[in-house]
Structure formats: C-alpha cells, structure tokens
C-alpha cells in the first residue's frame, strides 16, 4: 500500500513514519508565477474556511450550553453565549442518572479496552511470526470478517442466547477485536528486532517469557496507541448498549444522550425545580459533557492516532 518515507522522524510509535507537516519539497528556485501567488492566497482562504467550518459546531455547542433559553429560542446564539448562566449545567450535574451513566461509560471503556488489548496483542504477535505454519490461514480468517459479517439479527440472537443481555458483556465482548487494529499491531511486531528475541531465547526465556517480558515492555508506544483507539471506540459506542440493555441504570452516557436527543426522556426528567431552562439547553450541556474528555485529551494524543493509522498502512 504505502511505503514508509525516506524522511523518518522521531515517531511516538517507533516505526519510521513520515512527517506529515513537512511542506512539499520546493521544486522551484525561481519566483512564483503571479497565477501561483493568487492560488496560494485562495488556497489559504479555503483552508481557513475548512478549519472554521470544522470547529464551528463545537463553539456553537459550548455557546448554547451556557446561554439563556430565551436567547437560544431567538436563534441568536452563534459562537458566544448570550445571557450567560450555568443553571442548566448545574441541573444536569445534579442528576443521579447522568452520573451513574457517566460512571458506566468509564467502566465499559476500561473493561472493554482491557479485554480488547489482551486479545489483540496476543493474536497480533502470533500473526507476526512469518515462519509459523498456518499463519496465512489465520490472517485470512481474521481479515475475511472485515468484508463479511453475520449481520444484525444473528448477532442479536447470539448475544441474547449467551445471556449477555443487561450485562456489561454485551457491550465489551462482541466488539473486542478490531481487525484494523490487529493488522496495525501485526505490522509493528513484524518490524520488532528479531535479535532481541533471539538473545532472550538464548537466555532461556520461553515464547511466553519473550512476549511478556521482552516484546511488550519494548512496545509501550504502540500499545498506548492501541489503547487510545480502543478507549475512544468504547467511549463513543452506544448501539450495543441501546440494543441489549433495558435498565436505564446500565446505560452508558451516550445512550443517555441519545434518549435526550430523541426526546425519549422528554425534557430531561428528574431535573430539579430550580431548572427552568430545559430542552435545547439540556441537550447542549449533555453533549458538551459527553464530548469533553475526548476534546480535552485529543490535542495531546493526536500524534499517536496519526502514527497508528500510518503504521497500519505500511505493507507488512
């Protein structure tokens, strides 16, 4: 697919991944033609607009979350709160159900990521051993599921029959392995220096010992990347919980939010009497609180995501 660039950078994941911010090599020492100068201005304008359009919904959301109900109804709120207040925020934060669902999301994310990592790392390590008999069969066995799935109904019957309904397992087990992540890890382990493993074997470590005591400790960066991918996936997941859980106490916060958006919980039952602001506000505040952890963490972990994607695209 994509071969690695000749210009490796200090990449967090340890693969030699190209630096995406590097400008195109200047192929001209002569001055830009007038036409190209115009193009550069237009291009910059377009990209500023792209950034603005991308960010706008977030700014608008934050503005609505802190505006007065009247200001929202008048349709005047854009990127700055009008009639600033935190009444709605406080009333959402006072709801027990919201906190319980938020805690559920944290638990599902932690447990789901742990299970996913255990299954993905072990399988990826096995698949990275090119001398292993049956390796191609196992790879095909995993990759085929990317293109053909059982479908909604057979999955639903399976999860129900296993007795997973209204349990955490319905959310964390059926989606445990993401084949794309599996392939990313596989290509990382394929590039792991074989000398290290050979040295460990000479020192008398078994395959288990090599994997747990040599390979994994030296793969912290790629493990962190995978943890992030899975954690975001489980944090954002809502459909399995919506499908298999009847008890509102079990919902993750995404389902809580979905019910508000769909109007299933009307205007947010259980809000204290203090809250005169309902409807649009509650929606905005709940969305804000759901997206907040990701938006806050994102700038710091962005580079891991990017290198993870590129690692997977390097032909193994």
């Amino acid at each position: 697919m994509v071969n690695t660039a000749p210009a490796p950078t200090t990449d967090p994941v340890g693969g030699d991944v190209p630096d995406l911010t590097r400008p195109r090599p200047e192929t001209t020492t002569v001055k830009d033609t007038p036409g190209y100068t115009v193009f550069r201005w237009v291009n910059t304008t377009i990209l500023v607009l792209v950034a603005a359009v991308t960010l706008y919904p977030f700014l608008n959301l934050a503005a609505r979350a802190f505006s007065s109900e009247a200001a929202i109804r008048s349709g005047d709120v854009t990127v700055w709160p009008i009639g600033f207040n935190t009444t709605t925020l406080m009333s959402v934060l006072e709801q027990d159900l919201f906190w319980r669902n938020y805690a559920n999301t944290v638990v599902y994310t932690v447990v789901g990521t742990a299970i996913a990592m255990a299954l993905t790392t072990t399988f990826a390590y096995v698949l990275s051993k090119k001398y292993l008999k049956g390796r191609m069969i196992l790879i095909g066995f995993a990759v085929f599921t990317m293109f053909f799935t059982g479908g909604l109904i057979p999955n639903y019957i399976l999860v129900s029959e296993l007795g997973f309904k209204n349990t955490i397992w319905a959310v964390v087990v059926p989606q445990a392995i993401n084949v794309f992540n599996l392939l990313v890890m596989k290509s990382f382990f394929e590039n792991f220096p074989v000398e290290l493993e050979e040295a460990a074997a000479i020192d008398g470590l078994t395959t288990y010992g090599i994997f747990f005591r040599v390979v994994l400790p030296l793969s912290k960066a790629v493990l962190a990347t995978m943890v992030l991918f899975y954690a975001v996936w489980f944090w954002n997941s809502w459909f399995p919980a919506f499908l298999y859980m009847d008890d509102p106490e079990m919902y993750p916060v995404t389902v809580f939010l979905r019910n508000i958006i769909a109007g299933a919980t009307g205007t947010g039952e259980g809000l204290s009497d203090v809250a005169v602001q309902i409807g649009a506000n509650v929606k905005a505040v709940t969305m804000l609180l759901t997206a907040l952890p990701i938006v806050c963490l994102y700038p710091f972990v962005q580079k891991y995501f990017v290198s993870g994607v590129m690692l997977g695209s390097v032909k193994g």
């Binding site: 697919m1 994509v2 210009a7 190209p18 995406l20 400008p23 192929t27 001209t28 033609t33 291009n43 377009i46 990209l47 792209v50 991308t54 919904p57 608008n60 959301l61 609505r64 109804r73 349709g75 854009t78 299954l119 072990t122 390590y125 096995v126 001398y131 292993l132 008999k133 049956g134 293109f147 053909f148 059982g150 479908g151 909604l152 109904i153 057979p154 999955n155 019957i157 399976l158 493993e197 074997a201 008398g204 078994t206 395959t207 288990y208 954002n236 459909f239 939010l257 979905r258 958006i261 649009a280 929606k283 969305m287 759901t290 997206a291 994102y298 700038p299 995501f305 990017v306 590129m310």
Partner: protein, 313 residues
C-alpha cells in the same frame, strides 16, 4: 526454549503440522483465545444466517426450527418497503462515494501546497477532530444546527428566506446526511494521502520542471500518479462498505417524516427484525445485503488489480 525459534536453515513449507505444533505450541496457545473469539462472535453469526431459510422461534433453537426454503427470500423480493430501502441505500451509497471519497484527496493536495508548517499542522489537527466524536454527538450537532433556532436557519433568514424545518422534510435528508459525513470523515481521510505525498521523490518534480511543466502539470503528472495506489486501495475499501451506509447515524437522524428518503436496508432490517420481531425475514434481507457487499469488494478488487495494478490482495 531456544528450539522454539526459527531455525535459520529451516525451509518454509516443509514442516508438517505435527512438527509445527510440537515446536511452536506456545505460540499456538497464545492464539487460542482470539481464535475462539472470532469463531463465536464472527463466524457463528455467519452460520446463524441459516435462519434466513428456516423458521425461527424465540426460545427455540438459535438455528431455527424447520426448513422453509426460499420463502423469506421470495417475500422480500415482493416487498415494496424493501425496494424503497434498497433504492435509498444505493442513492445514499452512491452520493457518499462520489462526494465523500474524492474530498480527502483534494484537501490533501491543498494542504500539500502550504509552506507554513505551523498553519499546516493547525489545519490538520482541527480537521481530524470530528473523527473522534461519537455518532450520537454528531447527530446532536446536526439537530442543533438545523433546528428552527439553529445556525443554518439563521443564515437562511439572513438571505431573506423563511426558516425551514430541515429534519422533518424528506427532501433535505440526503443533503444533511452527506454533509455530516463530509464534516466527520474528510479531515481524517487525508492522513494516508499526506503520508503517500511525502514519499514522492523530489527529483521527479525537478525533472518535470526542467521539462517545462508548470505547477498544475506537475500535480497532474507527478503527484496524482504517486497517490494512485493509495486511492485505489481506499476506493476498494469504500466500495466494500457501500451497502452498510452509516446505519447508526441514519438510525439516529431519521423519523417517520424523513423515512421515504432516509430508510436504508440496515434500518429496515432493524425495524422488521427487532421492532416487529420477524427475525427470519430480517435475516434473509441481511444476508442479501452482506452478500452484495462481499461481491462488490471482490469485484472492485479484481477490476482494480487488472486496470491499475494495485489491490488489497
């Protein structure tokens, strides 16, 4: 033990299974749990598709009770609502392919012309962000922006129009769906193209310039051929997902008013199977959808391999 390591002199393919198992049994045991997981949660449901041809009763066997042949298949072929959903799937899928697929390429090319690293990094960072938002949040954004007091209607009023209740009108659904898809996926989609762009040899540009190619011609004759393999691979993957157009997002966005344009096969399966409990019938439709998806991806791969030389396998 040391014997578990690859013997340097060992020739591949000469090993018997018995020998392989004896030498690498620890590796095979590591694969045991993941393989069981795949069997149970991926392959068992595939086998479960057999209930498309058998009558399923809740509480009975998960593989159905008795054979009914092609009864359910014939039923959906005569089902008006199914064909409506099929048509919507094809339209939304085609719109997604035609509009959403090329945009990351264009955005990557535009980013590639920037000379300021700082600005380039800023645009990249911002444009990746939507990819990490839950589909529930994205649906929330859509409702917020298109509501009567939302920003879109503010713009409509600015230009002298009357506010439109976008989410209640079937005519608007596809536009809104595709726009939200663009907003969420295009930025993240540029990564692989940008990665490929960095691998293009600067000497090629140099040579093209000496041959008198201007910027545009350099892009056309050097840059685009350079990213063609990446384009083809992503196109094949996209075609493979043609049938399963964003089920979750449509499920969150659509309602009875927008159903005529919004209802796709996957949402129809949900309603038939899980709302009205016709599990065998819904499975038959699901199987049809999955088989089409499989055929699409294999054909796209074969065509691409023959025409452009790049393919997934």
């Amino acid at each position: 033990m040391a014997t578990e390591l690859r013997g340097a002199t060992e020739l591949r393919g000469k090993e018997t299974w018995g020998l392989a198992l004896r030498k690498h049994w620890r590796l095979y045991t590591l694969a045991l749990l993941p393989v069981i997981w795949f069997l149970v949660f991926r392959y068992l449901p595939m086998a479960g598709n057999v209930i498309a041809f058998r009558r399923f009763r809740p509480g009975g066997s998960i593989f159905g009770e008795e054979w009914v042949g092609l009864y359910y298949i014939e039923r959906f072929i005569q089902d008006q609502a199914f064909w409506q959903a099929f048509q919507n799937t094809v339209i939304i899928g085609a719109l997604t392919l035609v509009i959403v697929f090329p945009l990351p390429i264009i955005l990557a090319l535009l980013l590639n012309e920037l000379r300021s690293r700082v600005f380039k990094r800023f645009v990249q960072t911002v444009s990746y962000l939507p990819h990490f938002m839950s589909v529930v949040i994205v649906a929330g954004f859509v409702f917020e922006l298109t509501s009567l007091d939302g920003t879109v209607n503010r713009l409509v009023k600015l230009f002298g129009g009357d506010p439109i209740s976008f989410m209640q009108q079937a005519d608007w659904f596809r536009t809104i769906y595709v726009s939200s898809e663009v907003w969420q996926t295009v930025g993240w989609g540029t990564i692989l193209y940008l990665a490929t762009l960095t691998t293009i040899d600067a000497q090629l540009y140099e040579a093209a310039r000496i041959d008198g190619a201007n910027r545009w011609q350099q892009t056309w004759h050097v840059t685009l051929p350079g990213i063609r393999p990446t384009m083809m691979v992503l196109l094949i993957l996209n075609i493979g997902q043609f049938m399963q157009v964003g089920f979750e997002k449509i499920f969150l966005l659509y309602n009875t008013l927008t159903q005529p344009t919004a209802d796709v096969i996957s949402t129809y399966i949900y309603r038939v199977g899980l709302t009205s409990g016709q599990l065998s019938y819904a499975t038959a439709i699901g199987l049809f959808e999955a088989v089409i998806g499989l055929v699409l991806v294999f054909s796209a791969n074969a065509i691409s391999r023959r025409v452009t030389g790049s393919s997934l396998w």
